[in-house]
């Protein structure tokens, strides 16, 4: 079951390199978070840990329901074009993502000893998500893409944390969730303000602001 979910995450992550519209990107993030929540639920069942149930619940509530909903509202409110804006076209993005995937796999292989295939795959995919998230931030023009890229990166870090024996301390996890929520709210506000002032959310045009 864990393998299946990991594979799903891998597919979804790869697909983020291909999408060029915000609703699709948001849907990708939502599905990826859903898979993560299910993975956490599995772990909670395996270890019979009430804390992990809470975390899985929070993950579901925040990253699958609340945050995507907030962004939906924001996109509607701004009324901007749904296009993400591509610096690199989808084909090249896909190739780059593939290269990053190979790198992530080699990186995980260098860190984890041979027989622990599941751990290696988890770490590899976690790195892959992180790198792809940043790739998304670099190669997409509009500010919303940067925020979603950051959230994807955070998902990757979360996945990497699950392979630590015993996981991260409960309070750290909770604090992280609240950080994410707060940052999403601030980002949302900023994007809204940027749009209001400059009538666009094209980050590449912000370079003119430097002192």
């Amino acid at each position: 079951m864990a393998w299946l979910l990991l594979f799903a995450i891998l597919l979804i992550t790869t697909e983020t390199a291909l999408v060029s519209r915000f609703p699709a990107l948001l849907r990708n993030f939502r599905y990826q978070s859903l898979c993560l929540a299910l993975l956490t639920l599995l772990a909670a069942e395996r270890e019979a840990s009430p804390e992990l149930y809470v975390i899985a619940g929070l993950l579901f509530g925040l990253k699958v329901l609340l945050i995507p909903h907030l962004f939906d509202v924001l996109i509607k409110r701004i009324g901007a074009s749904e296009q993400v804006g591509l610096f690199l076209n989808t084909q090249v993005s896909l190739l780059l993502a593939g290269a990053l995937g190979l790198l992530a796999w080699a990186f995980a292989g260098a860190l984890i000893a041979a027989p622990a295939y599941l751990t290696q795959a988890t770490l590899g995919i976690a790195c892959y998500i992180t790198l792809t998230g940043i790739l998304l931030m670099v190669t997409r023009v509009k500010a919303l893409a940067q925020v979603i890229g950051l959230l994807l990166t955070e998902n990757g870090v979360f996945l990497a944390a699950t392979i630590i024996p015993g996981g991260m301390p409960f309070f750290v996890e909770i604090a992280l969730f609240f950080d994410i929520l707060v940052s999403v709210m601030i980002f949302g506000l900023f994007i809204y303000r940027i749009n209001a002032i400059f009538t666009h959310i094209d980050v590449s045009k912000l370079a003119g602001l430097k002192g």
Binding site: A104, A110, A207, L209
Partner: protein
């Protein structure tokens, strides 16, 4: 449990520390009395109170510095002293010049402190304790390379504070900007605490293990003395002139310290003690007369509102007390017998000659050269202070401000009188002071104190003779008749201040003599009415500050060019910054194979 600060060894009151404590208190007392009158109308209320409290705290920090026996506490007090003096330079915080000078000062001394911190913690790694005796013991077992490094760190660290050439850059900026009693304290005492540190840490902690250490210090001393006095001779701002003269005197003291280091290394502790006595004597003297001269300069500034020599003149008539005290200080610093400067420079020369006779071969030649350098410095100092005194106080006023000068209030006169008396006493009581200092130097060099034979002639007799003959000549020559007549002015109708020597003109022969170093250049400009009639002629002369232009500005230029190069990476594009992060992550992921 290894305590960082051991209460039992926190305070060290050996003769050396007591000597410095005396010097600090000797200069601080008149400076504080002087400040009562000096600060009065310019500042009032809270500003006056904070300035005075900071001054007292500054004095206390210096006093504390010389009696702590723990290197960590030493560092803390050292920084405290630096910060307090920084605040004091900033007393006149509305002037940009003061802010710039203070910034330069704090940056340079912080760099110096970085070296000191490094040196002290390097020793701590070996000794495991900050107590000076434990550190001294640990230093004996170190590798020569480490000891050489430590020596350099101490030299740079303390040299920056002392104003050793080429680390003297802050001195001529900071000293003129501070209020005069603060300049007096900084120049008289604070820069000496650096020499205290140098002697304390190099002689007593590190131990002198190589001959070239002493030669380095001696050479730096010669360079500082000569360059300091040449710059002083060129300057036309009174307090900056005095600041450069401080560089020169620090050089002379370092020369004595370097000589003591050489002689210690050559197993001549008795002579080393003599050299160190001379250095300490000169240190005391310089504290006294430089303190006095700065106080007098402050009095001139207060009375006329300017320190530019070209605008002064004739002050001896309006400010007789200040003029008299300045003359005493100037005579002292020019090493005229029977005043104090003479005694210490005499001792320094004695130490050099006796040392030169006792060491073989090349070092002897080098010591002879050092003696020649002292002689040259002495001559230039006399010229410099003839200029400083003559242009400031004699002849006719060169400006309205100078003509309307007023004598300083009583508190300020007391401060100057106290130090002037000290200049005379330290000269006349030479043998007594020598014996005390010989004990101090003997305790540092672990030798019997040098005998007073080096100072056999009694200067009191000399003084009485000089005074007596002076009075006699005065009595017999112009006792009866005084003729008043017009000065002949080469055919011009009247003599005015435009006929006088200017400070720049006075120093011109020296500017030409040392042109290989000063690199003087001039600008001339004719302002014409028509082709045939030149309305006025502008002539300006400058000297090149080679250390600033070729050392500091060059270094700064390098840093700025480097910064401009790296600034290209900061294009202002968020995508670019994000791609830096991605590139870093990819690089790290690739590097995981390598480690």
């Amino acid at each position: 449990m290894n305590l960082l600060i051991n209460i039992n060894s926190l305070v060290v009151l050996d003769p050396f520390a007591l000597f410095f404590l005396t010097v600090i208190l000797l200069i601080s007392f008149p400076a504080l009395v002087y400040s009562l009158g000096y600060l009065q109308p310019k500042y009032s209320g809270a500003k006056l109170l904070t300035t005075q409290l900071t001054t007292v705290a500054f004095i206390l920090s210096m006093a504390l510095l010389v009696i702590v026996g723990n290197a960590l506490v030493f560092l803390i007090v050292w920084e405290l002293m630096t910060l307090l003096s920084y605040l004091l330079i900033l007393t006149d915080s509305e002037s940009d010049a003061a802010v710039n000078a203070a910034s330069l000062y704090i940056i340079m001394t912080h760099c110096g402190t970085a070296f000191l911190t490094a040196a002290i913690f390097l020793i701590y790694r070996h000794s495991g304790s900050f107590d000076l005796p434990a550190m001294a013991a640990a230093c004996q077992t170190m590798s020569p390379l480490l000891r050489n490094t430590l020596f350099f760190f101490f030299l740079i660290g303390f040299g920056t504070k002392a104003g050793v050439v080429p680390l003297h850059l802050w001195l001529p900026y900071a000293h003129p900007q501070a209020p005069s009693h603060i300049s007096s304290l900084m120049s008289g005492v604070m820069i000496k605490t650096a020499l205290y540190g140098l002697i304390r840490f190099v002689f007593l902690v590190l131990g002198i293990s190589s001959l070239w250490w002493g030669i380095t210090v001696l050479t730096l001393g010669i360079i500082s003395a000569l360059i300091g006095i040449i710059y002083a001779l060129m300057d036309k701002q009174l307090k900056r002139l005095l600041a450069y003269s401080s560089v020169e005197n620090i050089g002379l003291i370092l020369l004595g310290i370097g000589l003591a280091m050489i002689l210690t290394r050559l197993n001549l502790p008795g002579l080393a003690a003599l050299a160190l006595t001379a250095a300490l004597y000169h240190l005391l003297n310089h504290a006294v007369f430089k303190g006095l001269l700065f106080l007098c300069a402050g009095s001139v500034q207060k009375g006329t509102g300017t320190l530019n020599l070209e605008k002064l003149g004739g002050l001896i008539k309006t400010m007789p007390w200040t003029a008299g005290f300045f003359l005493v200080g100037a005579m002292g610093i020019s090493a005229l017998p029977p005043l104090n400067g003479f005694v210490s420079e005499w001792l320094l020369l004695q130490a050099l000659f006796t040392g030169g006779q006792s060491v073989p071969g090349l070092p002897a030649l080098y010591l002879a050269l050092a003696a020649a350098a002292i002689a040259l410095t002495g001559g230039l100092t006399a010229a410099c202070f003839v200029k400083a005194f003559g242009i400031t106080f004699l002849a006719l006023p060169r400006s309205q401000e100078a003509a309307e000068a007023r004598e300083a209030p009583r508190t300020m006169i007391f401060g100057m009188a106290f130090l002037a008396a000290a200049v005379v006493c330290l000269g006349l009581l030479g043998p007594t002071v020598f014996n005390v200092l010989a004990t101090v130097a003997g305790s540092i060099c672990r030798a019997a104190p040098p005998p007073a034979a080096f100072l056999s002639s009694d200067l009191t007799i000399c003084f009485v003779l000089a005074l007596g003959s002076g009075l006699a000549i005065g009595h017999f020559s112009n006792g009866q008749k005084v003729r008043v007549g017009r000065t002949w002015a080469c055919g011009y109708y009247e003599t005015g201040s435009r006929n006088e020597y200017t400070a720049t003109a006075f120093s011109k022969p020296f500017r030409i003599a040392f042109s290989f170093f000063l690199l003087p250049f001039r600008k001339t400009e004719k302002v014409k009415d028509s082709f045939y009639h030149v309305k006025s002629f502008v002539y300006e002369t400058y000297t090149t500050k080679i250390f600033k232009e070729y050392l500091y500005d060059a270094g700064l230029g390098l840093v700025l060019r480097g910064a401009r190069f790296f600034k290209r990476a900061q294009a202002g594009s968020i995508h670019l910054y994000l791609s830096y992060i991605l590139a870093t992550l990819v690089l790290l992921a690739l590097l995981v194979r390598a480690f």
